[in-house]
C-alpha cells in the first residue's frame, strides 16, 4: 500500500505526462494566444472532476476500482483499452522525441524497449517500491523545474507582449483547448483509483494535481511568451525548443538535453501506474496458467503498435495526435461514470 504523500506525488506525475510530446503544441494549435488561459480553465475543471474521484473513494468499500469491476468483463476491456492508449501515448512521445533529438541512429524499438523494460522492472517490484521511486524522483523534478524557471523566467518576461491580444481566440477553439487541457491533466488520474482505498480528504487528493497544474501552466506561459503565436503552434516540441534559450550567468548554457529529464520522469512514473493496472487486469481476468505469458504479450503489443504502427508511419502518428485527446477523454470519462454507477448500485444492493 502506498502512502498519502506518494499518492500526491504520483498524481503530480500523472497530471503532467500527456502534455509532453504532442500535448503542448496541440494546445497551442487550438488555443492560440489564449492557450494559457484555456489551460488554467482546464485545470480548474479538473479540480472539480477530482470531486468525482473523491466520491468514488467514499462510496467504495472495496480495495480499488479493479475490485469493483472484477466480474464485469466489459469494463475490464475498457480499462485495458484505456491503459493501452495511455501507454501507447507515452511510448510514442518518448521514442519520437528521443529519435528526433538525441539518438538519431538508434532504432525506435530499442528506445521504446529499454524504456518499457525499466517500467516493467519497476512494476515487478510492487506498488510500494515504484511509489518510492516516484517519491525520490519528485524533488529532482522540482529542482529542475525551479532551475528552468530561473533560467528562462526572467528572459521570458521581456516578451509579455506575445500574450496579447487576450480573449481573441474563437470560442469553440478556446473551449476545445480547455477541454483538451482538462483531458490531458485530469483523465490519467482516474488510474489513481487502482491503488488501495486510503480514504483521503479531497484537499489532500488534489495537492499533486494542483502543483502539476502550476508547473504546466507556467511552462505554457513561458513558451507562449518566448515564441508567441503562431510559431509555438507550428514547431514540434516547443517546450524543448524554449529550453535552448536557458542561459544562467552566461556560462550555464546548452543544457536543454539534461533538463528534459523531468519529462522522462513523468513518463516513467505514469508508465509504472499504467502497466501496474494492465498487470492487475491480466491477473484478475485470465487463468493463472497463462497469466505469465499474456502479461508480457499485452505489454509487447503496446510496444509493437507504438513503434511499428505509429512511430514508423507518420500519418498514423498524426491521426493519433489529432484524435488521442478525444479518445482518451471519452474512454476515461466512460470508465469513471461506469465506476460511479457500479459503486452506487453495489451500495444500494
Amino acid at each position: 500500500m502506498i502512502t498519502k504523500k506518494q499518492y500526491m506525488i504520483i498524481s503530480y506525475f500523472l497530471s503532467r505526462f500527456l502534455f509532453f510530446g504532442g500535448g503542448i503544441s496541440h494546445l497551442f494549435a487550438l488555443g492560440k494566444v489564449d492557450t494559457w488561459i484555456a489551460c488554467i480553465l482546464g485545470f480548474l475543471l479538473g479540480l472539480v472532476a477530482f470531486k468525482l474521484l473523491h466520491i468514488f473513494q467514499i462510496k467504495n468499500n472495496e480495495k480499488s476500482f479493479l475490485d469493483v469491476i472484477k466480474s464485469n468483463i466489459i469494463l475490464k476491456c475498457v480499462t485495458y483499452l484505456f491503459c493501452f492508449i495511455l501507454l501507447n501515448y507515452t511510448l510514442i512521445s518518448i521514442t519520437v522525441m528521443t529519435n528526433s533529438f538525441f539518438l538519431f541512429k538508434t532504432t525506435p524499438l530499442l528506445i521504446g524497449g529499454c524504456f518499457l523494460l525499466a517500467i516493467v522492472y519497476g512494476v515487478s517490484k510492487k506498488e510500494k517500491i515504484f511509489a518510492r521511486v516516484a517519491e525520490l524522483l519528485f524533488p529532482i523534478s522540482i529542482i529542475v523545474f525551479l532551475f528552468k524557471s530561473a533560467g528562462y523566467g526572467t528572459f521570458a518576461l521581456n516578451y509579455t507582449d506575445n500574450l496579447f491580444p487576450m480573449f481573441y481566440t474563437k470560442i469553440p477553439d478556446f473551449i476545445l483547448c480547455a477541454t483538451a487541457s482538462f483531458a490531458y491533466s485530469f483523465i490519467p488520474n482516474i488510474l489513481l483509483l487502482s491503488f488501495a482505498n486510503m480514504n483521503m480528504e479531497y484537499k489532500d487528493m488534489i495537492k499533486g494535481y494542483a502543483f502539476a497544474g502550476v508547473t504546466i501552466v507556467l511552462t505554457i506561459l513561458i513558451v507562449g511568451m518566448v515564441f508567441g503565436y503562431p510559431l509555438a503552434a507550428i514547431i514540434r516540441y516547443p517546450e524543448y525548443m524554449v529550453l535552448k534559450k536557458i542561459s544562467l550567468f552566461e556560462f550555464i548554457k546548452n543544457i536543454e538535453n539534461i533538463l528534459t529529464i523531468t519529462w522522462e520522469f513523468d513518463c516513467i512514473v505514469s508508465g509504472f501506474v499504467i502497466v501496474n493496472v494492465i498487470k492487475k487486469i491480466n491477473n484478475s481476468t485470465l487463468p493463472q496458467k497463462i497469466q505469465k505469458v499474456t502479461y508480457p504479450l499485452l505489454i509487447l503489443l503496446s510496444l509493437i503498435v507504438a513503434v511499428y504502427f505509429f512511430q514508423m508511419k507518420y500519418e498514423n502518428t498524426l491521426a493519433f495526435y489529432h484524435n488521442s485527446t478525444y479518445i482518451i477523454a471519452g474512454i476515461g470519462l466512460l470508465l469513471l461514470v461506469s465506476l460511479l454507477f457500479l459503486v452506487r448500485k453495489k451500495k444500494n444492493n
Binding site: N162, P165, F227, Y229, L231
Partner: protein
C-alpha cells in the same frame, strides 16, 4: 544468477560511451553562407576542423560549397563533400547575400533551417553588403573562425550592439510570423580586408527591401531594444553619449506614441557652457531630446518609404485593437515621439579647457 546476468548485460549496454566521437572525427560547422548566382543557391559551410600537428591539435577553418536550384538540395549536397560527421550545435552565424535576401527572400531558407532538427535555432543571421557570402567567409581571420569573429564584432560594435538575443534565429522567425512586424538584420561589409558593420538591412515580410544608414540604425535601436547602450549623438559641437535606454509604445485608436526614456553623459560642449551651471544640463536635455526626436522621425519616414515596420508598430496596434487591425497599419497610422532625456554625468571637467 539473475543479478550476475544483469551485471554482464549492463557492462555492454550501460557504458554510455559506445558511440562517442573524438573532436578529430567530427566537422564542427560554425558558419553558413548563402548566395544566389545564375539561378542557383550556393551554400557555403565554414567548418572548424581539428588537425594533428606533432603532439598538438590545431584548429583550422575550411570552406565547402555546393549549389542547386533548390535551397535544401544545395545545403544537403555539401554532406557529400565532407567525410566526417557534421556537427551543427556550434553554428553561430548565417550570412545571406543581398541577392538572396532581395530576389529570393528568406522564406525557403527559414523554412528549411527551422525544419531541420540537427541545426539549433540560436544562431544569428546577417546580410553580406556588397560582397557575396562566400567572400565574407573567405576573408579569413588569423586566430578564429570568421563566424565567431563576426558574432563578436556585431555584439561589441562601438556604436551599439547590433545583435541581442532578440535576433537569434527562432525569435527572429517568431517576429516575422507575427502580425504587423517586420525584421531587420545587421549587414557586414569588407573594407581593406577588415570586416565592418554597415547599417541595417530591412525587410518587408520575407524580402529585403533596402538598407538604412548607420546613423538611422543607431537611433532606431533606441526604439527597438531596452539596454545599456553606447550611442553617441552630436550636433557638430556638443555631444552626448546615451548610456541607458528604455522605450515604450503606447497605442491609441488613431495614434501611436513612442516614449523614449534615456540617460546620457556629456561628451563635449561649447566653450560658452559651464557645467557648474544647472541651466547647461537643462539646455543639453532639451536640445538633444529635440535632436533625437527629429532623427527618429526621419528614420521612421525612411522605414515608411520602404514599407517596413521593424519597430513593430502594427504589431502593437494589433495587440491592443485586433479587430481594427489591417496589414500595413503600422506604416500608415499617425505617431508621436516623446523623448525624456536625463543628462546627469559629464566626466571630471566643469569647464572647457581653452
Amino acid at each position: 544468477m539473475k543479478k550476475f546476468l544483469l551485471l554482464i548485460i549492463s557492462i555492454f549496454l550501460l557504458t554510455g560511451c559506445y558511440d562517442y566521437k573524438e573532436l578529430k572525427d567530427i566537422d564542427v560547422i560554425t558558419g553558413v553562407g548563402i548566395d544566389y548566382e545564375d539561378g542557383e543557391y550556393v551554400v557555403t559551410l565554414e567548418i572548424l576542423r581539428a588537425t594533428a600537428s606533432g603532439d598538438k591539435q590545431e584548429l583550422k577553418t575550411v570552406l565547402v560549397q555546393s549549389e542547386d536550384e533548390v535551397f535544401s538540395k544545395a545545403f544537403e549536397t555539401n554532406y557529400t563533400k565532407i567525410s566526417k560527421l557534421t556537427y551543427f550545435s556550434h553554428l553561430q552565424l548565417i550570412v545571406v547575400s543581398e541577392e538572396v535576401a532581395q530576389e529570393k527572400g528568406m522564406q525557403e531558407i527559414i523554412d528549411f533551417l527551422l525544419r531541420t532538427s540537427k541545426i539549433g535555432n540560436t544562431f544569428y543571421t546577417a546580410v553580406a553588403n556588397g560582397y557575396s557570402a562566400y567572400e565574407i567567409f573567405d576573408n579569413k581571420q588569423k586566430d578564429e573562425a570568421v563566424a565567431t569573429y563576426l558574432v563578436t564584432l556585431l555584439k561589441n560594435s562601438n556604436e551599439n550592439s547590433f545583435i541581442t538575443v532578440d535576433n537569434q534565429f527562432d525569435l527572429l522567425t517568431s517576429k516575422l510570423l507575427s502580425k504587423g512586424h517586420d525584421i531587420y538584420l545587421p549587414s557586414i561589409t569588407i573594407e581593406e580586408e577588415d570586416f565592418k558593420v554597415s547599417g541595417l538591412a530591412i525587410f518587408d515580410g520575407f524580402d529585403m527591401v533596402g538598407y538604412i544608414e548607420d546613423k538611422y540604425s543607431t537611433i532606431l535601436s533606441l526604439a527597438t531594444m531596452s539596454s545599456m547602450n553606447n550611442i553617441y549623438v552630436n550636433d557638430g559641437i556638443n555631444a552626448i553619449n546615451i548610456d541607458k535606454s528604455d522605450y515604450k509604445i503606447e497605442v491609441e485608436k488613431d495614434k501611436i506614441t513612442i516614449v523614449l526614456s534615456l540617460e546620457g553623459t556629456i561628451k563635449s560642449l561649447d566653450k560658452e557652457f559651464s557645467l557648474k551651471d544647472e541651466d547647461t544640463f537643462t539646455w543639453f536635455e532639451d536640445h538633444f531630446s529635440e535632436l533625437i526626436k527629429k532623427e527618429l522621425e526621419t528614420s521612421i519616414q525612411e522605414l515608411r518609404y520602404y514599407n517596413s515596420d521593424i519597430l513593430g508598430l502594427g504589431n502593437k496596434y494589433y495587440k491592443k485593437y485586433p479587430r481594427k487591425y489591417h496589414d500595413g497599419i503600422g506604416n500608415e497610422i499617425d505617431y508621436e515621439i516623446k523623448v525624456d532625456l536625463d543628462v546627469n554625468k559629464f566626466g571630471i571637467l566643469f569647464e572647457v579647457i581653452q
